[in-house]
């Protein structure tokens, strides 16, 4: 493993999809560039910056993101920490797991990236992740965390990416980084009340299929970075999430389900089919519309109301499971009492050598007793 000082490279802007700028994107870019120029220290007032990141096209391109993401994430880029070497971090208990995942993150790098550059970036990614979890021993690494880290590494470089990851790990992702995934699992259930309030038919269909929330787990854990094929869509969503309160990915998830309601309702209502349909995000999702809708949903439903409903749902689910278990036991009992097969099986099982010997022994004893009493009785009768 090479030393970090050796692998440090001047990051050329990485390009993924070189698509021409649309009119809307150009206008937005010019607007942002003007705002940066107007502010002497190059920063934009936070409120205005958040609105830019939330609105159509987000922060438009990676050059602007490189400048604006740190501010949006609330990190101070003038006071960055020294980057440790990979050697210093190799003894970390999670080193092996992180390395395995980083080695399997090839698809997150621009196609055609020179081999040496990619290897260097992957080493930086490993360092970046281990630095955070070393600094915060209460935070646990999870598979998918590397998908978040790589996005910031590619856009902002390793020093700034660390500052951003540090910030996000202690806020947005802290729940996912707990010892177990229990809290995350419960958080994902927040999708259901939103769907129920908006489209009861869809909600009941999804419940009937017993699909659960597993399909949304990679979305939530990686801010969709793991699941979307389009790099452009990923960074656009990151603009949105950086400018949004925690748990916003839940609302985006609900908005996606609502957007796809018609397709979902046509699917076979079983767990596998629905899980399969939901996990695969179509490439042509109109994210700008979905994000607008997500923001509307966020304003419409308070987290307290949602949480209360979630508790109700969990309670219902528990009772349902209990009922089903009882029905199952009853059913099995009724079947076994009717079944001749089971009676004969019982009879055969009773007919063990031990039981045969016992029965024989008891019969002999009873026989002897009967003989003895009979003799006694007869003797008494005669005399």
């Amino acid at each position: 493993m090479s030393d970090v000082d050796e692998i440090k490279i001047d990051l050329p802007p990485l390009s993924f999809e070189k698509c021409p700028e649309s009119d809307g994107e150009r206008n937005k870019r010019i607007e942002i560039e003007k705002l940066i120029a107007d502010n002497p220290d190059g920063s934009i007032p936070l409120k205005a910056l958040q609105e830019l990141a939330l609105g159509n096209f987000g922060l438009v391109n990676d050059d602007l993101r490189r400048v604006l993401w740190p501010q949006l994430a609330g990190v101070d880029v003038t006071n960055l920490e020294r980057v440790p070497t990979l050697d210093e971090l190799q003894s970390h208990p999670e080193f092996h797991q992180v390395l395995l995942d980083v080695n399997r993150s090839l698809k997150r790098f621009p196609p055609g990236i020179p081999y040496e550059q990619r290897i260097a970036l992957q080493d930086q990614l490993t360092v970046l992740i281990l630095r955070v979890i070393k600094k915060y021993p209460n935070l646990r690494y999870y598979q998918g965390y590397h998908d978040v880290a790589v996005t910031f590494l590619l856009v902002a470089g390793e020093e700034v990416a660390f500052a951003i990851m540090e910030q996000l790990s202690t806020t947005h992702f802290s729940e996912c980084m707990q010892e177990t995934m229990e809290a995350t699992q419960r958080r994902l259930m927040f999708i259901w009340p939103i769907v129920l309030f908006e489209q009861p038919e869809l909600f009941h269909f999804l419940q009937r299929s017993s699909v659960g929330t597993l399909f949304a787990l990679p979305w939530y854990l990686t801010w969709f970075g793991h699941s979307l094929n389009s790099y452009k869509a990923v960074v656009r969503l990151y603009d949105y999430f950086l400018a949004s309160p925690m748990y916003t990915p839940i609302f985006v998830t609900a908005a996606i389900l609502l957007h796809r309601a018609n397709v979902i309702l046509q699917e076979d209502c079983d767990m596998a089919s629905v899980h399969c349909l939901l996990s695969k995000l179509p490439d042509d999702l109109p994210f700008e519309d979905i994000l607008v809708n997500s923001s509307k949903l966020y304003d419409k439903y308070s987290l307290t109301v949602i949480e209360k409903k979630v508790e109700e749902l969990i309670q219902n689910e528990k009772e349902q499971r209990k009922l089903e278990e009882e029905r199952r036991i009853k059913y099995r009992r009724s079947v076994s009492s009717k079944s001749n097969y089971n009676v004969s099986k019982w009879f055969l099982s009773v007919l063990t050598p031990k039981s045969v010997m016992m029965t024989t022994a008891v019969s002999i004893v009873v026989g002897i007793c009967a003989y003895y009493y009979k003799n006694q009785y007869l003797a008494a009768g005669i005399s």
Binding site: T180, L214, D270, A272, K280
Partner: protein
């Protein structure tokens, strides 16, 4: 319901991170290997049609995340499994040691009716690599000690033994199904209908 014939076999693949679960599934279903798989988060599945004992059945193969912290999320799809495939990497002794806990965890979460006789199959993967660390004998001994679990040494990369291993998986899963029929399971009509209506030409990984 006693004569119910289920045409769908549910198979769960478990094992440590990076032992090759996704690769084995893809080699079996699509006859392809790629160095570019990403870590699995949550779970995905593939389906494949197979002929076992002159019967056409659809195998639904669930691929899972290997990191320990994801284990507890599996409950929903562990249930109703007909066979569980435990995978380790022959170059990674720890992944072999962990087979015990993967097996135990599965039995706890799936709670099959007859845990002693639930069909498992063990695959020692990556035999194409030079730096082997777990011997065949050691693996076989472990399998024998667990009620004679069938054991195969595979390479998802080169396609070694993959087909044969999955044939056994399908066969044992089907036997498990047959036994379940005999004991007369709780009827679950809604599920059965939707399974039987599935288009029958699908060998794919939609997810």
């Amino acid at each position: 319901m006693a004569t119910r014939k289920k045409s769908l076999l549910k198979v769960i693949i478990l094992g440590d991170s990076s032992v090759g679960k996704t690769s084995l599934m893809n080699q079996y279903v699509n006859k392809r290997f790629s160095n570019q798989y990403k870590a699995t988060i949550g779970a995905d599945f593939c389906t494949k049609e197979v002929v076992v004992n002159d019967r056409v059945v659809t195998m639904q193969i669930w691929d899972t995340a290997g990191q320990e912290r994801f284990q507890s999320l599996g409950v929903a799809f562990y249930r109703g499994a007909d066979c569980c495939v435990l995978v380790y990497d022959v170059t990674a002794p720890n992944s072999f040691k962990n087979l015990d806990s993967w097996r135990d965890e599965f039995l706890i979460q799936a709670s099959p009716r007859d845990p002693e006789h639930f069909p498992f199959v063990v695959l020692g993967n990556k035999v194409d690599l030079d730096n082997r660390q777990v011997s065949t004998r050691r693996a076989q001994q472990w399998c024998q000690s667990k009620n004679d679990i069938p054991y195969y040494e595979t390479s998802a990369k080169e396609g070694i033994n993959v087909e044969m291993a999955f044939q056994t998986i399908a066969k044992n899963a089907l036997e498990q199904e047959a036994e379940a029929e005999l004991i007369n399971d709780f009827p679950d009509q809604l599920r059965l209908n939707s399974e039987n209506n599935r288009p029958s030409n699908a060998d794919n990984c939609q997810c």
